[in-house]
Symmetry: C2
Subunit: 425 residues, 2 copies
């Protein structure tokens, strides 16, 4: 196909007229399609029904250390759940605290602890005039929402194909002691699907921050969420790397089974150094009577171990792959060669990122909406919802049926082309 | 029996010698008994096993509003769980947010919100020089631990048979704008078992605090935890009373099923005014992807409604009553008439409070420990662990078997008598 930029004004106008006709046909259909939500489909959730069904209740009562899971106590998780989550996160069980059903909540709590209590005896951030976080962009909107909620200033750091721009990260954390954290989704990053390179992980672990209480918030949300097998998702162990670099306390790692078992009823975990864990437990003892240990044991009984999780994730991949490939095929079919944007083919995670011509993302999302396709709001993957180039669109193919998804993708490419021509004209 | 205070020195010494012999016999047995923990026994937990057993998994998948409980969303709880918790708390479903497995965590979060975010647009407490809470004493140690954790100054308010000393509460909150909250366990109070009188609840609701962001933390932990039926636990509805008094936003009410279903795997809730709920939801949306809705629906399927909960609580009472009566009988048998302390016969809740002679509590707890009986540390029911009179001991009869409990109670009364004689001599 010919590049739009190489077309004459007349050719573009003709193309626009043709596209508008197609677009209006879609509009007439009164569709209600949604590619905005990075959540599992019902079929994916059905994969885990035996978690609720097939486990003998008697086997859920007692943890291997004799603790009655139904009673109070066991504030940092039952041992076998620590092992399970450790295998998933590729860390050691003694580095793990098993938490409740939401790793977002676990991260929120960790930021709140930084704000209110301070890490390892450091000044609580709420007592400081300025607190900042580095935010690799595009990134996960709910990370940015947490830091914004607490009034923490967010600084954009561009993502590269290897992870965040480490030159910039190194310089910023070294020179500014008010920078207290960085949000990272190191494997199949939200939304681009980037896996941090070994070099990136090592440089991250060797940071020399001006702030003693600087922390890497390592949200390993897609630790086992491969689309094409684990070999594409190889990631260095940040806890080991930090330890080797003499920065054992500089990282908190998070994960959950939200997209393994159930998005609403899974278990989450945090992994950290011995000193950090002791610090967290001190505050957990005050905060809660312990997380849901019956649900922890339920997960252990069902998945058994890391291999059990891996086998289960292959079933998820079987449902997700066709959806991702359908969207990518449609982008290729309709947009390739037009010079109206680019996209990445992720090897795991939950999103496809489309990068439109500068200034077009908001318009594309609006056009799609008027034709019945809900997309994540333009700007969402950026702090304060502001995409400086207004070009990034996050596509979430997991939730719709393949029929709906095909129609949504067809409409999306029409909207991209229309918005691009509007810009070029 | 003769009052110890009326005995001669010689009589007391003789009594002490006799008791020391009994005490040493107990010591020789190498017992390991525990009356410290206000937690349900295994038999109580077994009452709820059908929650894990007998509910068809398919019936756990979908809430009545069509929400897939297994997926993200429904951040404030599914409608039928709101109804269930509302019936338990005697409030309206629209006043309820259903939360996770720990109401302590829900309370911690609310105090943390006051600290970090401020209620309804008020200044976050972490920005103030001084923040204080009123603490009716004796009270619940874990309430006091939360406020201490956040550096909030705690002021003791004596409990009466009708609830906290309201003359003092009224005066303090009216004159000091740094007083931001009061901890209350209004029904079967921890540890005394006091049910707040109508007069107390009304005066509480009509408080005229100097601080606009003053809140009553109404921990209705024992809302349905009657030992002798609900008529002993009649409590005015604080939300209604606050509304009528023109203070609709002044109260947060909390409850959980920890001692109804499972202490580790129940559900909790907060009830509050419309404005407060909107404020909380704003922050919940940032904090979490929603609480465990599968577990919420599991509780609804099992208990069905308030009547179902009441029937279930009668089974708990059947197990708890003999334990309470055993301890009370033993206190009566061994201590009545000696003038060595007093106790209350609670009509619900989880504790019996023994009030020893001034200065004797620490000694009694130590003596018991050396004879193999663990009691809650003296001072625990007071802020900073300091009982000004060193006289209150919290006895928790729920967890041990009746055999163990009888032995522990026998030892306890010996320790009380020994410590009392030591003081009198």
């Amino acid at each position: 196909m010919q590049k739009y930029a190489d077309m004459t004004r007349e050719q573009l106008q003709e193309e626009a007229a043709r596209l508008r006709q197609i677009y209006q046909e879609y509009q007439g259909k009164g569709l209600k399609l949604d590619m905005s939500r990075g959540k599992p489909s019902s079929e994916q959730l059905d994969l885990g029904m035996d978690l609720l069904n097939a486990i003998d209740a008697k086997s859920l009562m007692e943890a291997e250390n004799g603790l009655d899971t139904r009673n109070y106590g066991g504030m940092d998780g039952i041992p076998e759940a620590k092992r399970l989550m450790a295998e998933m996160m590729e860390v050691r069980p003694e580095q793990v605290i098993v938490c409740g059903n939401s790793s977002l909540n676990t991260m929120y709590d960790m930021v709140a602890r930084g704000m209110l209590l301070g890490y390892l005896g450091q000044t609580p951030w709420c007592k400081l005039d300025s607190v900042k976080f580095l935010c690799p962009v595009p990134g996960y909107d709910r990370h940015f929402a947490v830091t914004e909620h607490f009034g923490i200033e967010m600084i954009n750091v561009p993502m590269t194909e290897e992870g965040p721009d480490m030159d910039l990260v190194e310089r910023l954390v070294a020179e500014d002691a008010s920078i207290k954290g960085i949000w990272c989704v190191p494997k199949y990053s939200n939304p681009q699907g980037v896996v941090y390179s070994d070099e990136t992980v090592r440089r991250m672990a060797r940071l020399k921050p001006a702030a003693a209480d600087f922390r890497i918030f390592w949200d390993n949300a897609y630790a086992v969420h491969h689309l094409y097998g684990p070999e594409n998702g190889r990631l260095l162990n940040i806890l080991d790397e930090c330890e080797q670099a003499g920065n054992p306390d500089m990282v908190f790692e998070f994960a959950s089974t939200s997209k393994v078992s159930f998005a609403g009823a899974g278990i989450s975990a945090i992994a950290a150094s011995e000193a950090n864990l002791a610090d967290i437990k001190k505050s957990l003892t005050i905060q809660t009577i312990g997380f849901d240990k019956v649900n922890q044991l339920r997960h252990v009984r069902y998945f058994k171990d890391g291999a059990g999780i891996a086998a289960h994730m292959e079933k998820h991949a079987k449902l997700l792959r066709p959806r991702f490939e359908l969207v990518l095929r449609t982008l290729e079919r309709d947009l390739s060669g037009l010079g109206v944007g680019s996209w990445i083919s992720p090897k795991g995670g939950y999103f496809i990122t489309f990068e439109a011509l500068e200034g077009c993302a908001t318009r594309i999302v609006a056009l799609a909406k008027e034709a019945g396709v809900v997309l994540t709001p333009a700007g969402a993957p950026f702090p304060y919802g502001k995409d400086p180039k207004d070009s990034v669109i996050r596509i979430a193919p997991s939730y719709p049926t393949t029929e709906d998804l095909q129609q949504a993708a067809d409409i999306f490419t029409v909207c991209v082309r229309l918005a691009s021509i509007e810009k070029l004209l």
